[in-house]
Assembly symmetry: C2
Homo-oligomer: 415 residues x 2
């Protein structure tokens, strides 16, 4: 856990977190890292699905199966960081009262049930607003809160529908599944923008509102920033694989022991590349001497670059291009990327460990990738190891419930 | 242009926008769509690089080359929507005074110069803060404002360094360039979160601060949410191409005329898939009857699914699986994705056109993928067609400059 020393930007705000799996919990993770108090509500009969994600970490290190009671899913460990955990069976009689008491104490609610479910349970925006008109209530779903057809919206389904999968890969080859859960991750980022924008509006109006973010919409809006229809109308190829020939030389090239990405679109950069290739004569070769010529002869130019780079290690190819000022980078494995000194210093990727056991491997996960000059980011040293880990802290200290009332809720299976 | 009728969440806030290309302008585009007034500052000697991006749109429709004076790059048309444009040569004597007057009138500054450049020009955070202690100043760069080595941080360079490229693609095949500019797009989204968080903090403290977001850090934090080192320690394959065998059946499968994505991890879904395949007997087949068995025999199961799906059109395969309640989607072309009825209704992708000419094709671009119950999103009907398009409006109306002063600035090449 990181330990913030200065104030965090969202201190003093409280979030009631009804989310499960990845998309919703990542939204509330960002809010927690920015300083909000997040109270994660889990069903006492099983809790967040992410608790059952393999692999696990515990007293024996990393394992595929859950062996000991206190083994923790790495997914849960990373996504529930800095959150208080309370248990609440939202279908039990009386649970809604507890939920609405939480809402009265809070600024923000986030849920990612299938569209319509929260309303059916009596914990939707209408109920929350009636209890607390200042509440900002964010619903995160596959296709939007008003979508007629619900449908299960897993990351891969949204990748397929959005065009993101089609846009990646070689022109004549199958589409590519993007190897990071981009659809699951983008919708929560926009949810946080929606929540913070509504907070700003609340400073003017005094009242909250409902925020509704769709996984399909968030990822499709990213896809839409490329000018697909205009490029097609102009006869420009949109899906071009590892290189982009209309910007040639631009793309990913093979080396002896890996791959590099390079960009040498403009004149000065192209000449630098030619010098690195020990072919300065290309700068005067009519086939490569101008940007238009390089684009027209892109296939031949790319073949020449590959013939050169294939004979070099990644390290040597990068060094040769850097020496000539050509933008270049090795295609790195995530493990290496997460150990980048710059990323570690800025806490954009951060270490994480089981609260009770030293991990025998270096577990790293997402930080908050924003550096503030006059605030910290980072996570409180709390984690709901068990479901309902912080029931007493929240129900007594925050809501002022009596021990008798809590016993009664427990006896009736509400918490 | 969309026309907001209700208030937008960020109304009353003013943004001074020094950004160029994609990453920075997308940040200020989101702020404009959320209701902030964005004043885009461009060098009178050339303006935003995106003005020279092919293709163009104008009186003759779409073209690869700029033909007429008022042909507009589609990139500029989409990214400068809703922004006022002023010209300012930041290197000219006296330009800093104009910039600081803008800062005094504003809440937010956003810049994406190479790290260190803004300070050298006398328009960095220190200068802005001295002029207006309430200013929130966001720097967006490749590796962070404090990175010792600057380096050009194009999208493809950051994709390579972050691990995102390596994580995509088949285990034994080359890495994959993700076909949407994910690194360029993610950093601005986190910049907006940083800006809005600082606004919230400013409501408590009365003062602004510096926000510093790195393209490498933003994308690496996304990569870091997957448990790479834990999966490796548990012997689980991380980079698995179109399917994920540890969740089998899960992935992208070929049909006669395209591809579908499907997820049938759990018992009920697997049985639905088997019925759709007209192989209900698989549910009792010891090779496929349990989740563990399906994972152990994933290659065989995937071969069976492919043999079935290859005989069907995408439409028929999707229909067959939907009828059995199995999550499934066609892998859609971006053009089709941008015409999704749900996405259009929610304005997550929106039409755009040259202000003066009817486009002969349907140009669509990114909207703001957030739906507010008590606010609108959308863009004011302004666009800096020429550099300095709104000089008079801003310099006279906002800053109160006299016509003489403006003439003098123009004569000296400051604006």
């Amino acid at each position: 856990m990181t330990e913030p020393h200065r104030q965090r930007p969202l201190e003093g705000l409280r979030v009631i977190d009804l989310t499960r799996a990845l998309a919703g919990p990542y939204a509330t993770l960002l809010l927690a890292g920015l300083g909000a108090e997040v109270i994660k509500v889990e069903d006492p009969r099983g809790g967040d699905l992410a608790r059952d994600n393999s692999p696990y970490v515990g007293r024996d290190g990393i394992s595929v199966e859950k062996v000991h009671d206190d083994d923790l899913s790495v997914s849960h460990l990373t996504r529930a960081r800095g959150k208080l955990g309370v248990s609440l069976n939202l279908k039990a009689p009386g649970a809604t009262d507890v939920f609405l008491d939480l809402v009265r104490s809070a600024d923000i609610v986030v849920e990612n049930f299938t569209a319509g479910t929260a309303d059916r349970l009596g914990i939707g925006y209408a109920a929350a607003k009636a209890a607390n008109p200042r509440i900002i209530y964010c619903s995160l779903s596959g296709f939007g809160a008003t979508a007629p057809e619900g449908g299960k919206a897993m990351d891969i389904i949204i990748q397929a529908l959005s065009g993101a999968m089609y846009a990646s890969g070689e022109a004549d080859a199958p589409p590519v599944r993007i190897g990071i859960p981009i659809a699951d991750m983008l919708a929560p980022v926009f949810s946080v923008i929606g929540i913070l924008s509504a907070l700003e509006q609340r400073h003017r109006t005094g009242v909250g509102q409902h925020i509704d973010v769709s996984m399909l919409g968030a990822l499709t809006s990213f896809v839409a920033i490329e000018n697909w229809s205009a490029m097609a109308a102009a006869g420009m190829q949109a899906r071009t694989g590892l290189t982009v020939q209309r910007l040639s030389p631009f793309g990913v090239f093979e080396c002896r022991d890996g791959f590099i990405a390079l960009v040498a679109v403009h004149e000065k950069l192209a000449q630098g590349l030619f010098r690195a290739m020990k072919r300065p004569d290309f700068a005067d070769d009519p086939r490569f001497a101008t940007r238009d010529a390089r684009v027209a002869n892109a296939a031949l130019l790319e073949a020449n670059i590959t013939a050169w780079s294939c004979g070099l290690s990644v390290v040597d190819a990068v060094a040769a291009l850097e020496a000539e000022g050509v933008p270049v980078a090795p295609v790195r494995h995530p493990d290496e990327a997460l150990l980048d000194r710059r990323v570690i210093e800025r806490r954009e990727a951060v270490p994480v460990a089981h609260p009770s056991y030293e991990a025998d491997i270096d577990l790293r996960t997402a930080g908050v990738p924003i550096v503030f000059s006059d605030a910290d980011t980072g996570f409180d040293d709390v984690l709901p190891i068990r479901i309902g880990e912080h029931n007493d802290r929240v129900l007594v200290d925050t809501l002022g419930y009596s021990p008798d009332r809590i016993d009664d809720l427990r006896a009736r299976g509400v918490i």
